[in-house]
Structure formats: C-alpha cells, structure tokens
Amino acid sequence: MNVGELLDPLLLSRWQFGLTTLYHFLFIPLTIGMVLLVAILQTAWVRTGKLKYLHLTRLFGKIFLINFAMGVVTGIVQEFQFGMNWSDYSRFVGDVFGAPLAMEGLLAFFFEATFIGLWIFGWDKLSPKLHLATIWATAFGSVLSAYFILAANAFMQNPVGYEINEAKGRAELTDIGAVLTNPVAVTQFPHTIFASIMFAATVMVAVAAYHLSRKRHEGTMRTALKFGSFASMFGFAGSAISGDQLGLVMVQTQPMKMAAAEALYKTTENASFSIFSLGTPDGAHEIFSIRIPYLLSFLSTHTFTGEVEGINDLQAQYVQDYGPGDYSPIIWITYWSFRWMIALGGLGALVSLAGLWLTRKGKDPKPWQWKVAIWSAPLPLMAALVGWIFTEMGRQPWIVFGLMKTEDGVSPNVTGLTVAISLLAFTLVYGTLAVVEFKLIKKAAMFGPDEWENHDDPENVDHSKLATVY
C-alpha cells in the first residue's frame, strides 16, 4: 500500500467519523442516564428532606457535570462533520435530514444548555422547587435531543417520508410525521435511553461499592447501591425488550443487517442462533459453533419456524435492484459486535442482581465481590458502543440504505491529507481529554459526598455553599 492509498479521503473520513462518533457516545449515555438519576435523587431530597439524598445528588451531579462538558464540545464536531467530510451526503439528504437536526437544536439543545447553567449555578438563587425543576428541564432537553438525533439516524437506516427529485439529485422531505415516527427511531429511542440509564446506574453501583468496601458513608452509599442496582436492572430489562423490538424492525427494514449479525449465508427456516463460532477468515464457512436452536428465527420473526433471509439471497436480490456490487457489510464485525453487545449488557445486569442479593438485609459482600462491582461499571457502556458499531457497520455499504452509498457521500474537494490532519488533531485532543476526564471523574467518585456540607440539620442547609463557582 503506498502513501496515496493511505491518504484516501473516503477511508480517512470514515475512520474519523467512526472514531469521533464513538468518542462522542462515550459521554452521551452517562449524560442522559445520570441526569435522570440525579433528577430522581434531588426529587427525593426536596420531598423527604433526608440529607443522604442531597449528598447523592451533589456527588453524582458532579460526576454528571464533568462528563457533560465533554458531551457538549464533542457534539459540535458531530454536526459540523456532515458538511465538512460528507458534503455530497449533506447535499443529497439535507432537505430531509436537516429538519430533525434543526428541531433538535431549537427544541432540545437550547433547553438543555440553558437549564443546565441554571442548575449548576442556581442553587442559592432559585427556590428549592424551582431549582429542582431546572434539572428535570435539563433531563427533558437531553432525552428529547436523543429522539431527534435518532430520528435523523433512522432515516439513514430506513429512509421514509421522502421523494427523490431527479433534477436536483436529492431526497426531499414529503412527510415529517413519517420521519419522526420511523419504526427504527421509535424502537431505537427506548433502546438508547434504557441503555443509558443502565450505564449511569452501574457507575452509581461502582461508586457505592468503592465506598462501602472501605466502610465509608455507609448509610448514604447503601441507598446509592440499592437505587443503582434496581435502576441498572430496570435499564437492562428495558434495553432487552426494546432491543427485541428493534430486531424485528431491523429484519423488516434491513434484512441484510440481521443476516450479517448471524453470518447466515443461506435463507433458512427454523434458524438457530450461534453463541460462538469459528470459521474461515471471510466467515463464509463455519468450522465449529455452539448453537441455540430456533433462536434466530424467534428473534427475527417471533415464531420458532420463521424464515430468515440469508446473505447470499439478499445479495442476489440487491444486485437485481441496485446493480452490480457487494451489498454485505463486513461480516466478522457485525457477527461479533452483535454478540458482544448482548453479552456485555447481560453481564452488567447479572452483577447488579448479584449485588442486590449479596447486600440483602444489610449483609456485607466479600472484598473480591465489591471489586467485581467496581470493575463492572464500564460493561453497559461497552455494550452500547459495540451496539453502535453493529448498527452503523451493519448499514454499509450504504450511507442511506438503498439510496446512497457511503463512497458517494464523501466531500469531493477535501483531500486525504486534509482529513489526515483533522483525524490526527481529533485523536490527540480527544485522547488527552479522555485521560483528564477519567481522572477527574475517578477523583470525584473516590472523594465521595462532600461531608463538610453535612449540616446535621436538614432544615438549615446553606444553599449559598451548594452553587458551583468556577
């Protein structure tokens, strides 16, 4: 491979978009999940006046804020990149795709960004109830923005509500209702929100486990552990149910993605699901596998005998529909990312379940068990990340399924060298900031609740000490 090939703008733009998007998504689940958990904790504080809820609100609020800053600044990159690296894509879909993005900004981002400022700095300037309302408003903005961005993404997976204008060479919006009720968006949205809740909850469990294993803040942290464990299992149950629905929608809208998730080459009835398999490097021939009978048919159709279309048949059909070309994604990526997503999420839920059992009636787990709880915190995040890798890599070779290929969306006038520069810049900046952010969150988590503000009298909390001062 020579330098010219290495500096391929398409390849580099794909790497850059993939890396910056995954990086952005490191912060999103914790933002969305934690703002909801913090809002619940603060509600408990305002309603019960128990100081432990205030301490938990403050501690997890701080972790939320350290993380929030990264979500904000990396989010701007996401919006700019469509135009910067994917200008032909932007020209093609802008009439449709821009609308949910603009709605996200107007209806959700402004809301989120304004009320977060009021929450951080407004502890002593707003009445407790009004201040509580600002965290709920922030949560509302975050969740709503997730909906709009998932609706935009859903258009790429399953384009609806548009017409192609041949003269202008673009997709044009004809039905915003269809775009916003795209079945992919409708199922992807709860899947994302539940997964976010689960990750924030496992972070809470890990923080609680850290302090409890050292016998610190026991009263407060027992509450956090219990709340976090239940929230984590709630999040997992929600992700599993919505994920199942999403799978059904995927079979309808992108059958190739489901076939690629199982590396199923031949159309099959009574299809089994492999937990593990070894095959030839291209994945086309299987050497060894462990299988659960009928499960793939069930996941795809909710019947045990349903027919699941295979890669080879879909490929043949797509060649007929769209002309010659390779219409399958990279199979080993889709196959393994799909499995890892399920496994990592399930493992995280098991840890929470075990944690509830081991701490029942005030019992104390063994040290190694606390350690497992602490180190399990990233599991749901990793599940979410490989889930996105599956969703986006499984869409390939399309940038908009059936309408435009990824290779046709890239900016024609941006050189490989230019993209290499930006890719390097983002890698350096993002890499450094990841280390800083992780250290800060770790420090805040290990420090625990600010006990100095533990006025024994909940009636007389000095609110002027609660507002953040930069």
Binding site: M70, I76, M84, S87, S90, F111, L173, E437, L440, V469
Partner: protein, 338 residues
Amino acid sequence: MDLSYLWFFIVGFFFVGYFVLDGFDFGVGMSLPFLGKDDTDRRVLINTIGPVWDMNETWLIVAGAAMFAAFPEWYASMFSGFYLALLLILVALILRGVSFEYRHQNKGREWTKWFDRMIFVGSVVPALLWGVAFANLIQGVPMDADNNFTGTLFTLLNPYGILGGLTTLMLFFTHGVVFVSLKTTGDMRDRAQLLARKAGAITVLVAATFLGWTIFQHLDSPHAWLIIALALAAAVALIASWLFNAVGREGLAFATIALTIVLAVATILSALFPNVMPASNNPANGLTIESASSTPYTLNLMTWVAGLALPLILGYQTWTYWVFRKRITREAILTSAH
C-alpha cells in the same frame, strides 16, 4: 414572499445571536492575561460568563443546523470548503469549553495555568477565524461547477479576509471587556473600563477600515444604499459605545457594542444578499438563496418550528440572564467552597 428569503434572515439571526452572545464569552476569555492579575481575578472573570457560556455556544449549533435544514447546499459548500478553518475553530471551542469546566476541579497552580492558556487560545482562535470565514464568504471564493470550494486554507488568508478576522477579534475582545466592567465591581471594573477604552480605540480603527472596504467592494450592488447605511450605523454604534464606556455608563456601552455586532453582521448579510456563497472565479458556480435552499415543504415546517420555539427560547434565556444579574465580587469568589 418565498420562504427561502425569510430563512436567509433566520439563519442570519442565529449567527447574529451567536456572535453577540458567544462574542463576549470570547472577549472575556481573551481578557484573562490582561485583567487577571491573580487567580481570584481570573476566577471572577470566568464566573462572569459561567452560567451562560454553554447556552451562548448553543446558538452556533442552532445556526449550523438551521443552515443545514434550510440551505443544504450552502452548508455543504461552506463547511467542506472552509474545512481547516472550521477544524481550528472546533478544536479551540473544545479546549475552551472543557477548560471552563475542568479548571476549578483541581487547585494546583500548574493545572489552572494550563486551562487559563487554553481558555485564552480557545477564545482568540474562533474570534479571529469567524471573521476570516465571513469576510471571505462575502468577498467570494473560487468554486467549481458543482459548487465545491477549490482553494485551500491559504486562499482564505487574503488581506480582506485577515482584516475581517482582526475586526471580529477586536470587536469581540472589546465586547467582552465591556461585559466584564458591567459584571464586576471595584478595581476589576475600573481596569476593565480603562482597557475597553484602549481596545475600543483600536477596534474603531480596524472596524472602520473593514466596513469601508466592504462598502467599496459592493458599490455596484443594487442595494448599495442599504449596505452603506448599515455599515455607517455600525460605526456610529461602535463610537457611541466607546463614549459611553469612557464616561462610565457600562450598561449603555454594552448595549451599543452589542448593537454594533448586530449591525456589522447585518452589513455582511446585506452584502451577501441575494447570494449565500458567491464564487470569485465564475459567478455561475456560486450559490444563491434560491439555488441553495430546501423545498417549500421543509421551509414551511421549519418556519412553524422556529416560530413556536423562538419566543420560548428568548423567554427562558432572558430569564437566565435575569437570575444571574448580580455582579461578581472577589469576596464571593474567595469565600466560595469550590
């Protein structure tokens, strides 16, 4: 009237909002080495914009998204064309944003020094480059028949582009320093007024040259009278701001310099009209409001969304400024826990 013309004004409105609001954030960031004698000073400065910088920056996200939705061709051509300039702006905004949030998380001297530097650089770079980008936008850039920019980063660094950059840099700097005088007390307020007087004088010179050059470039425009009127009004507002600051009326000084930015962006937009991205090499390769716009369906939808959302946005953002209307004192910073 064709909705695409309305959306030209709406997109312009979001950029005006962005430059007026994040403009003083940039100015405050740039003022750190000039006004921040010690750590408490620098914390006072940062806290003047603490609760609002994030929502101010969001105006950029909305401006960009509105441009994408209403003028996909403009968005695609401008963002891919100004790639490296925008990359620098993005990196700067990232560094600035995290620095506000992370600076106070640790007390070490080295730690805060690093973040102070990043706040400064993260404010200077966008303040300069937005001016460069918009000056080039109205001057015209080389484009091919597919509306793709054919130059490089250095194409943008021509004398007029650089002068545009210096204009926004100085304008935002003075804007921010005037804001500091409005939001602080005592010694800091006095020093900010003094600095605003000096910086304001340079700003008047740079901005007048830029506005004069802009008028000169557009004398043959059918609406040259409008461009001239707006540019003159901007100059008058800027001088008024300088005078208000000199006599210690910081509220009026701030209002008039904000008005200067509104009028300066209006001058740029009127010079652009009815184009959105003119080509310098061949007029046929450029983009106009009509050729770059979305369909009437999308514009109609977006008009409803913006019409419903904007009063609400303006309402809660104004309320936020009201909640945080108090001046920031050194005493409050020193007695704060964080």
